[in-house]
């Protein structure tokens, strides 16, 4: 009996220690973000800020750090890429799941093999292609790359579509609907849960993407959330309180989305990672 109690105590102790290890690094950054410059220099990282409503650093980070432009650019890239990804992913899945045609397995294999290609390294060659299209240093470079290399979404759609009964398609055909009508009017509405999954996991991935925008959009007015924060390293290099505020500005939206959509995020991550 006693060993049970000890085990339970041990269990909660480990969980609490793990939570502290996870939250402490974020907590000290939050504390730092609320301190004035002189306060930051004279106090320790665990000392509470004198004024928790001090938003000066946040104003500096957002206004002088170019984070507004970053947010606008990230939003634009996200809306266009996600719309495109859903259209492309559902069309591919529809063709693969609902038709029998020559080379079907070959096409499927091409998509599956592509999931294994690590995109960071192939950029040496991809860069030449994007550059030759004249897209370098434009907002369209990340968009075409997100569209062109997002195979996980296709995979999720194919899996989900195979669970939609084919009798629905056949009923619509008997009503005289053609294939495009069926795709748009029958399949698309039924794919809503899969679309939600893709929106969530791709949305988070695009919000967090650093390398592609860093490489393809060096121009200062083409910063996205990640790259505009990364550029804090230069001008604010010595001002940790401003960097801390910028970091918080990037993390808070993720936290809010996570709190609202927890269940969907867990499901999406599971179906996306176990491809």
């Amino acid at each position: 009996m006693i060993s049970r109690v000890v085990l339970t105590a041990l269990k909660y102790l480990t969980l609490i220690v793990a939570s502290v290890v996870t939250l402490l690094p974020l907590g000290v950054v939050l504390i730092a973000s609320m301190k004035s410059q002189s306060e930051f220099v004279t106090t320790g990282p665990f000392d509470f800020p004198a004024n928790v409503f001090n938003i000066d650093n946040f104003v500096t980070a957002i206004v002088r750090g170019g984070m507004v432009q970053g947010l606008i650019n990230t939003s634009f890239i996200m809306v266009v890429s996600l719309t495109g990804t859903i259209l492309i992913g559902t069309m591919t899945a529809y063709a693969i799941d609902r038709f029998t045609f020559r080379f079907k397995n070959g096409v499927l294999g091409l998509f599956l093999l592509a999931t294994l290609v690590p995109t960071v390294t192939t950029q040496v060659a991809t860069f030449q292609i994007v550059n030759s299209m004249g897209l370098f240093n434009t907002i369209w470079a990340p968009i075409v790359l997100f569209l062109g290399t997002d195979i996980i979404s296709i995979y999720i759609f194919v899996q989900f579509m195979s669970s939609i009964p084919k009798s629905l398609d056949e009923a619509a055909m008997l009503d005289g609907a053609n294939r495009f009508t069926i795709y748009w009017r029958v399949i698309m509405p039924l794919l809503k849960p899969a679309i939600a999954t893709v929106l969530i996991i791709r949305g988070i991935a695009i919000y967090n993407e650093f390398y592609i925008p860093f490489l393809y959009m060096p121009s200062s007015d083409l910063g996205v959330i990640s790259t505009s924060l990364f550029r804090f390293k230069g001008p604010f290099g010595a001002q940790w309180e401003v960097i801390a505020a910028g970091t918080m500005v990037v993390i808070v939206p993720t936290l809010i989305i996570f709190l609202i959509l927890q269940k969907y995020i867990y499901n999406g991550i599971t179906s996306g990672a176990t491809k």
Binding site: L108, A125, T126, G176, A244
Partner: protein, 321 residues
């Protein structure tokens, strides 16, 4: 079901024919040319994108890797055979990056063990289970640049970590966490564990929870303790996800980029394979040929690892055709 939507190409024909005379839509492989063409209409754009942004670069990569190209359009691409591949294993500045990968491989094993522990603990009824689950998972969602800054702040001299050690009277343990070549890779790999543990944890937890609860009840009736439940129920139930995570972890350890690049730019002995590739390909070195050879090598390793994983644990439920 409305049939009055935008009528692409064939809709009028459908309306004109009574259905029995027009079996092309329902029959398999009985249709005419349009029937055969339809799937390709759906696939045209996706396949073009796939070709242009995945397979064309992969092909070019192999081609560049056999030349001494410097990356400028006008420069000649002189064929040098496998020379670039030889350089990967002989150049003094490339060889150490393989050793750095070992730190991350080690870290990812630690990460999987920790994840497995917490997944097992939280699969039993626990107070505030969702809260703990959320806390442990959340770092995985955070922007990589933000994580880089959070840990730069934590590790800086006199920063959070040093202060915490000081508070416990452990000043002697303080180190130049990111400046000392003997320490930096532990710091960075530790950051990587902090970032990715939550993913493994949630995947493991999901797999454990999909084991039917009757099995646990039966096991308890048979007098199986917690450890035996773990050994004979949980472990076999999550074998597949463990092997998958293992392969992803090793492939990921070779392809580490964001954390060390953002935090140290590969300085002080923290250079990784991918940072080196990126610097050679895009930096001031203009060694596109050599960088391509490194990319091809990484690609080959990832493909081989995946092939091994598929051989060891066959995909049972993933059957797309």
């Amino acid at each position: 079901m409305t049939t009055t939507t935008t009528p692409p190409s064939d809709a009028p024909a459908v309306a004109a024919h009574p259905l029995p005379n027009r079996p092309a839509w329902s029959g398999r492989g009985r249709g005419g040319r349009d029937r055969k063409l339809t799937p390709w209409l759906f696939l045209a754009v996706p396949l073009i994108l796939l070709g242009v942004f995945t397979y064309l670069p992969a092909g070019n990569l192999i081609y560049y890797s056999l030349t001494d190209w410097d990356g400028f359009g006008a420069s000649p691409k002189v064929f040098v055979g496998l020379q670039n591949y030889g350089k990967i294993f002989t150049r003094d500045d490339i060889l150490p990056v393989f050793l750095v990968s070992l730190y991350y491989i080690g870290a990812s094993l630690v990460q999987m063990v920790i994840a497995l522990c917490f997944a097992t603990v939280l699969s039993f009824s626990t107070r505030f289970r969702n809260l703990f689950k959320g806390i442990l998972f959340f770092p995985y969602l955070i922007n990589g640049v933000a994580i880089g800054f959070v840990f730069l702040y934590l590790f800086q001299p006199g920063g959070t970590l040093d202060s915490a050690l000081h508070a416990f009277g452990l000043d002697a343990l303080s180190k130049h966490w990111l400046g000392d070549p003997d320490v930096v890779n532990f710091s960075l790999a530790g950051t990587s564990v902090w970032r990715y543990m939550g993913l493994n944890f949630v995947l493991f937890l999901g797999a454990i929870q999909s084991i039917p609860s009757e099995l646990y009840e039966a096991a308890e009736l048979d007098g199986a303790g917690r450890f035996q439940q773990f050994r004979y129920l949980i472990l076999p139930g999550i074998k597949r996800i463990i092997s998958l995570s293992f392969i992803l972890a090793i492939a990921g350890s070779l392809a580490v980029f964001e954390i060390p690049y953002i935090m140290t730019l590969g300085a002080n002995g923290s250079m990784t394979f991918v940072i080196k590739t990126v610097l050679l390909g895009f930096g001031t070195f203009h060694k596109v040929g050599l960088a391509s050879a490194m990319a091809v090598l990484l690609l080959a390793i990832v493909l081989i690892l995946t092939w091994i994983q598929r051989r060891i644990v066959p995909d049972d439920k993933v059957d797309l055709s």
